[in-house]
């Protein structure tokens, strides 16, 4: 049985080339499992170094694409949306729902006020004119309005 030739390196030139083609010339960006062997081969093999040089050329061309740094205005706009320290837990709530909560609270206060006023006025009418039919439609209408306000603000 013939002995297989001993590869001086655990990584073949073919595999080395494939890695350079995919990950570029910076071997720190290569898969960790291949890195040490690839570095060994690069030290030993001019062909491997030639592959690295090819990859490096393409890396340099890709680096010719420049993107402007983000503007200070954008940074400030983003910072303005950041939660404040006490409000961090409410960061997920949007301003619309905060408005809705306020409207709900206000409409509740309004309805209670109207009910109270209505009750007092009704009591006065009863006191003046004696027992009669009490029209509650107006109160019910205000409840509806409060509800529609709430729904509209939600």
């Amino acid at each position: 049985m013939r002995e297989a030739p001993i590869d001086p390196s655990p990584i073949s030139l073919e595999r080395f080339s494939a890695l350079a083609d995919a990950f570029g010339a910076d071997m720190r960006r290569w898969p960790e499992a291949d890195r040490a062997a690839a570095q060994d081969l690069a030290r030993q093999s001019p062909s491997a170094r030639a592959r690295l040089a090819e990859a490096d050329t393409l890396d340099a061309v890709l680096d010719l694409s420049h993107i402007a740094a983000p503007s200070v205005e954008l940074r400030d706009r983003i910072l303005a949306t950041a939660p404040k320290s006490r409000a961090i837990r409410g960061a997920g709530r949007d301003p619309a729902s905060a408005k809705s909560r306020l409207l709900r609270w206000l409409s509740g206060v309004g309805a209670v006020g109207v009910l109270t006023c209505g009750a007092l006025a009704g009591a006065a009418v009863v006191a003046v004119s004696g027992p009669s039919h009490v029209d509650t439609d107006g109160v019910a209408g205000l409840y509806d309005q409060a509800n529609s306000l709430d729904a509209g603000g939600a």
């Binding site: 494939a18 890695l19 083609d21 995919a22 990950f23 570029g24 960006r29 290569w30 898969p31 990859a55 050329t57 393409l58 890396d59 061309v61 890709l62 010719l64 694409s65 420049h66 993107i67 402007a68 740094a69 983000p70 503007s71 954008l74 940074r75 706009r77 983003i78 910072l79 949306t81 950041a82 939660p83 404040k84 320290s85 006490r86 409000a87 961090i88 837990r89 960061a91 997920g92």
Partner: protein
């Protein structure tokens, strides 16, 4: 991904952001905004749209920070995934509602010829990237420009490292052919 039990370099900062520490919020924006803007600009080819993506991505950061579960994913990987998805949404809308005008390109700097030339070269590279199939372009953006590790880039794209290697190799091969003039 639970397999990434690696130390997250952003974890401590994110905890401070979640506590509403203004210095941490500024530091996080300084650290991540240029990266997210660069990714979105390269994906969309439109600086204004890229700014919108960056703003939306940070809104999601603010919402996510208090809920962040350390050890499940790297924050940077998650943020790239968010930005990439926001870009995909916009690209999809563009395909559904094509406009007559292509997105604005960044104006070349007025003045020095060398700056104009640099801008033209940059646009040439960008055009070559735009011509790649989406997955190949995304792999190159994440690995080469965003400098994500191959594990993180694969995680963002939802593919194995072997599949990432294949996407990168095919993409770079195509770019080499298209950008031959710039390589001499």
């Amino acid at each position: 991904m639970r397999s990434q039990a690696l130390a997250d370099p952003d974890e401590a900062l994110l905890r401070r952001v979640a506590a509403g520490d203004p210095a941490a919020i500024q530091a996080l924006v300084a650290r991540k905004l240029p990266r997210i803007c660069a990714l979105a600009t390269r994906m969309l080819g439109d600086a204004t749209e890229a700014e919108d993506v960056a703003q939306e991505a940070f809104l999601r950061v603010w919402r996510q920070a208090p809920k962040w579960r350390a050890g499940e994913a790297k924050f940077d990987t998650w943020l790239h995934r968010v930005a990439l998805n926001l870009c995909y949404d916009r690209l999809r809308r563009r395909r559904e509602q094509p406009t007559a005008e292509p997105p604005d390109q960044t104006d070349p700097a007025v003045g020095a010829d060398v700056e104009v030339e640099m801008m033209q070269t940059s646009n040439q590279v960008q055009a070559a990237l735009d011509e790649l199939p989406d997955r190949q372009r995304d792999a190159i953006l994440l690995h080469h420009y965003q400098e994500l590790s191959n594990i993180d880039a694969a995680a963002v794209l939802g593919v194995s490292v072997d599949a990432l290697e294949s996407l990168l190799a095919r993409g770079r091969r195509a770019l080499r052919a298209r950008l031959q003039g710039l390589q001499s």
